[in-house]
């Protein structure tokens, strides 16, 4: 209880301060750490200026509250701890969320790295949005600190880091310095954090693996006022940033893609796995922590439960 109270005080303090500062989240009982970068609150023009980018047009002004975002994509090393569930014994004991109650992903029958590796600092891939979201819930139960996936608006705001064009480096850089994509990836994802970060210290926002968000993919979403589209059905859900397989045009701050059932076409089981895709080793995720933390409780709507 003491640790929980301390944590609450810390969160309160941060909330009052309103200016988040970078910190490192340690996984209790392990040597593993997650670097959390502070993203200040603000507003930006979300979307593309180019009418040809149909599903990201037109731009609209969107305000975003402050949050932290993991500087890197979640790695296999981290995700395997969620699969193993051996750290649970060190979990913060929470009144409203018991770590035992967090559903664990199944151990996959096949190698989900599809030959690109599925260990160490390589980005976890082939996870479903449910698998990504439940990792956040598990991490919350483990640490007592609230984590979830980013919304699409948060993702784009963080990727832009104040920039206005399709890429955060605008005119003074080239994509190869910042991203693994089809021209330099060797058709494989790479260890996270090898390329230069964006101005706010976020690595691999473009390329490497595309990243799950909390938004349902709605093609004409930008033509309406509603900014956030909660996930109410499994498909399609928005992934952002593009991957090692994509061309330069398919990477960037505004490019959107919706998930598709074909991503698990080679799952021979019935029903198919809720936790794993089979043909989407180009999709992983990163995590955020909002400054205004909702009450941590079992049925928090941002920990999606649909498959």
């Amino acid at each position: 209880m003491k640790i929980t109270t301390l944590m609450m005080v810390m969160i309160l303090w941060v909330s009052l301060d309103q200016e988040p500062k970078a910190y490192t989240q340690r996984l209790p009982g392990s040597e593993l750490e997650i670097e959390m970068v502070a993203i200040p609150s603000g507003s930006f023009q979300m979307g593309s200026k180019n009418p040809e980018d149909k599903d990201a047009y037109p731009q609209r002004k969107v305000s975003v509250d402050g949050f932290w975002m993991s500087s890197k994509e979640v790695t296999w090393e981290l995700y395997r701890e969620f699969l193993k569930r051996e750290l649970d014994i060190n979990a913060i004991k929470h009144e409203n969320i018991q770590i035992d109650a967090v559903t664990g992903a199944t151990i996959p029958y096949v190698d989900m790295g599809l030959g690109m590796g599925s260990e160490g600092s390589l980005p976890v891939a082939n996870v479903t949005v449910l698998g990504a979201s439940q990792f956040c819930k598990w991490l919350t139960a483990l640490t007592g600190v609230y984590y979830r996936l980013p919304t699409e608006a948060e993702w784009e705001y963080a990727a832009r880091a104040g920039s206005a064009g399709p890429y955060f480096f605008e005119d003074d850089g080239n994509l190869e310095e910042y991203a693994w994509f089809d021209e330099n990836s060797g058709e494989s994802y790479h260890e996270v954090g090898q390329k230069k970060p964006n101005p706010w210290g976020l690595y691999d926002m473009y390329g490497n693996v595309a990243e799950w968000t909390l938004d349902q993919y709605v093609e004409d979403a930008y033509q309406k006022e509603q900014v956030f589209h909660p996930i109410t059905k499994p498909y399609p859900t928005v992934v952002r940033g593009g991957s090692y397989k994509d061309t330069a045009k398919e990477l960037g701050s505004t490019v959107r893609m919706g998930s598709d059932l074909v991503w698990k076409v080679r799952d021979p089981q019935f029903p198919q796995s809720k936790w794993w895709n089979t043909d989407a080793a180009f999709v992983g995720f990163r995590i955020v922590r909002p400054v205004e933390t909702p009450e941590i409780k079992e049925d928090n709507t941002f920990w999606i439960a649909i498959d």
Binding site: R80, D111, R266, P268, F270, A281
Partner: protein, 437 residues
């Protein structure tokens, strides 16, 4: 940016490889007289994979119905029944009456009796008996790999493979790489001489391992082994058989021959708990082929280690690399890429197996995978024999083995073929001591 935006496939290359892909949902209307018969399907083994195979069968043909289900366990059968019922209740394809749900060891007979086509997807130890009964009774078969766990089982499958041929029955074995575009395209190029004659290779299934189903107090020893079947040889055959057979089969298929001998080493170092039964967590085997080609085979179930599920082969003019990412690459002797194939987006080799099976039934064309399924299973069994014993195992000696792991005509009163020692652990094979032939 759309989902199909970059299929990651070179369609033109695929076409130039002369690959004929099957799919034939559109050609259904062309079927002849056979199409008038409604095909009845029985599912034997109602786990996730068996249910998946039933789901694929029901999508492979329009005039089809699932009529019977069998499983050793009522809870597994009910779960599968409910899932399939939910999806197919309004399609006319699901007609499993209450009286045609068969629980227990001998339920397979009653289920098979009711069908034209049977899906055999229990743990592999039971496959030979189920396959024999299906063929004796004139049924077409889809059966999962491996097709046996011991040599008497292999002999039985080979015998009924011949009988299936005589009776013109169609048999597909779930070695789905043989139905997968990247493998088919690569083999086509190999046959055309793109990398010369294959003289060696390496095949891998290195991963973190699979599920464990822990013992519960209410289980008898037999029920425990049946539920946690992966870790018992009479049921599973060890992971060199249960999983790595896929990659070993690719070697047999691409080389177009079966090995004369196997030698290797293995053990268990990480996966050593009581619930891990008696199987190894790693095997490394050299298979030597009649042509002189040698295939190195490695399979490992150890978390936190290097993962690889793939195959590569060296030829006299280049080399080939195939992998689970649904890609295949060809290189010349200088390492320059000379060919590349990737699956079409949405290509599903598991569905393809069933599309082909039902097409062969409808059009009455030849299709029988049972012989190579049995021989690739035997190849993997030889690998296991080599790592357990530490001896060189010859194909002709292995084929003579009469060591039977699976009891005949089991009931819930049959004593399990292996029992735990006083400390709750099972006997582990010891190279140099364990006899396997």
């Amino acid at each position: 940016m759309k989902n199909t935006r970059r299929d990651f496939v070179k369609r033109s290359t695929m076409a130039s490889a002369g690959l004929v892909l099957t799919p034939s949902l559109e050609s259904k209307g062309m079927f002849n007289i056979f199409n008038e018969k409604k095909l009845k399907v029985a599912l034997v083994g109602c786990g996730g994979r068996g249910s998946g195979a039933a789901n694929q069968a029901l999508q492979a043909d329009e005039n089809i119905e699932l009529v019977a289900m069998a499983d050793a366990f009522e809870d597994r059968l009910t779960e599968s029944y409910n899932n399939l019922y939910e999806k197919y209740k309004d399609t006319g394809k699901f007609s499993v009456q209450e009286k045609n749900k068969f629980v227990g060891f001998d339920g397979y007979k009653k289920a098979i009796d009711l069908a034209d086509v049977v899906i055999l997807a229990t743990p592999p130890g039971f496959r030979p008996a189920h396959f024999a009964y299906a063929i004796e009774n004139g049924k077409h078969v889809f059966m999962e790999k491996p097709v046996a766990t011991d040599v008497p089982g292999i002999q039985k499958v080979l015998k009924y493979a011949r009988e299936a041929k005589d009776k013109n029955l169609k048999v597909v074995v779930g070695l789905q790489r043989r139905y997968q575009e990247n493998y088919l395209a690569a083999l086509e190029e190999i046959k055309k001489g793109a990398v010369g004659k294959l003289v060696g290779g390496q095949v891998y299934w290195n991963s973190a391992g699979v599920w464990v189903r822990p013992r519960k107090p209410e289980y008898t020893e037999l029920e425990y082994q049946m539920r946690n079947w992966y870790y018992f040889n009479w049921l599973c055959g060890d992971h060199i058989l249960e999983q790595h057979i896929h990659n070993i089969d690719v070697a047999n298929w691409f080389l177009d021959e079966f090995p004369v001998s196997a030698q290797g080493m293995g053990g268990r170092q990480v996966r050593t708990g009581k619930d891990h039964g008696e199987i190894f967590d790693h095997h490394f085997v050299e298979f030597t082929y009649p042509s002189g080609a040698v295939i190195s085979s490695q399979c490992r179930h150890q978390p936190g280690t290097y993962n690889r599920v793939a195959e590569q082969f060296q030829g006299t003019k280049g080399f080939v690399s195939t992998n689970d990412a649904a890609a295949a690459f060809l290189y010349d002797l200088e390492g320059n890429e000379i060919g590349r194939f990737e699956n079409t987006s949405g290509h599903n080799p598991y569905q393809e197996e069933h599309n082909r099976l039902f097409k062969a039934i409808r059009e009455n064309t030849e299709l029988n995978n049972a012989e190579y399924g049995a021989k690739s299973t035997l190849t993997a069994i030889m690998g296991r024999m080599a790592t357990y014993s530490g001896e060189v195992i010859k194909w002709e000696d292995a084929m003579q083995s009469t060591l039977q792991l699976v009891p005949d005509d089991m009931t819930w009163d049959t004593p399990p073929p292996v029992l735990p020692k006083a400390d709750g652990f099972y006997e582990i094979p010891t190279p140099g001591k364990t006899k396997v032939l």
